[in-house]
């Protein structure tokens, strides 16, 4: 986690180590605590159902936190995350388990590395995204 890759050592197609999180009710509470997003669709099942959703689902800040963690776990203390984009194509509901993953897509001059990042849920990509990091050189 502390010592990330040097730009020269990165190869296109390299996988970033991902992680999984079970979206228990306790995790949903931690989500509200961690993001301070009190919009009820993320913690009040009745409010969520009234809005037409089957249940409460994790918010944007939680999702992007997962994607950010995949990248920052990998890039180490000397990397700089310069961009992150993502599309939330389907909500991730309480009771489900999500997995955040990443892969090196392209390298460019100046230490730039473009990544694919995404959230999987039951074998389906619910949140595709991209990220760009600047990595230090080996020498």
């Amino acid at each position: 986690m502390r010592d990330g890759p040097r730009w020269e050592h990165v190869r296109e197609g390299d996988e970033l180590k991902g992680f999984s999180l079970e979206l228990t009710m306790t995790r949903m509470v931690a989500q509200v605590s961690g993001t301070q997003d009190f919009y009820p669709v993320h913690h009040d099942p009745e409010f969520a159902r009234q809005a037409g959703h089957p249940d409460i689902f994790v918010n944007t800040a939680f999702i992007r936190g997962c994607l950010c963690r995949v990248v920052t776990d990998w890039m180490g203390v000397d990397g700089f995350l310069s961009a992150l984009t993502f599309q939330m194509r389907r909500p991730n509901f309480v009771g489900e388990t999500i997995t955040a993953r990443g892969r090196v897509r392209k390298k460019a001059a100046g230490g730039r590395v473009d990544l694919e990042v995404w959230i999987e849920n039951a074998g389906q990509v619910t949140v595709p995204g991209t990220a760009t990091v600047i990595l230090p050189a080996a020498s």
Partner: protein
Amino acid sequence: MGYDVKAVKRQWEGYETVRQWGRYPVEHEPIRRHCHMLDDTNPRFLEEGHCPPVMVDYFASLGPYPPADYDIFPVIRDIPTPGDRLINLNQEFEWFLPVKVGDRLGASHKVVAIHQRGTKLDPLSVWIRTETTIVNQHEELVARRTNQLLVHRTPEEIATGASRA
């Protein structure tokens, strides 16, 4: 009379808030709560006071209390739409500088585009694109964020044909 999206676009597209400074400086405790919710044990964030990049808008916000004043919610709330239920669909972040505990962040929000296009949730769904600019205490650009939000009615409102605008 139906919802006049053209009038709403004329009134709101290009609207920009004045910059407001975050209620609190960047602090350890919110960073730790963020990390705990994600099982993130990165010592850079937990112990060394580096702000996770995705938290800059949190610290630039007037929020989190009262919840209705959090981040771009007050702006979205004031834009006339048939429904008032929100979903954030897409987000894009660009970062230009690192942020650490003790920094002070501020943000301004701009309404970039408003469209009406039906969705599975609501045939009168409204799509609102916003841009948020975040600076530090030296007025240096720290980050830029864009959001694509969907505003929709509840199934009950759809069934009765209710519209708030």
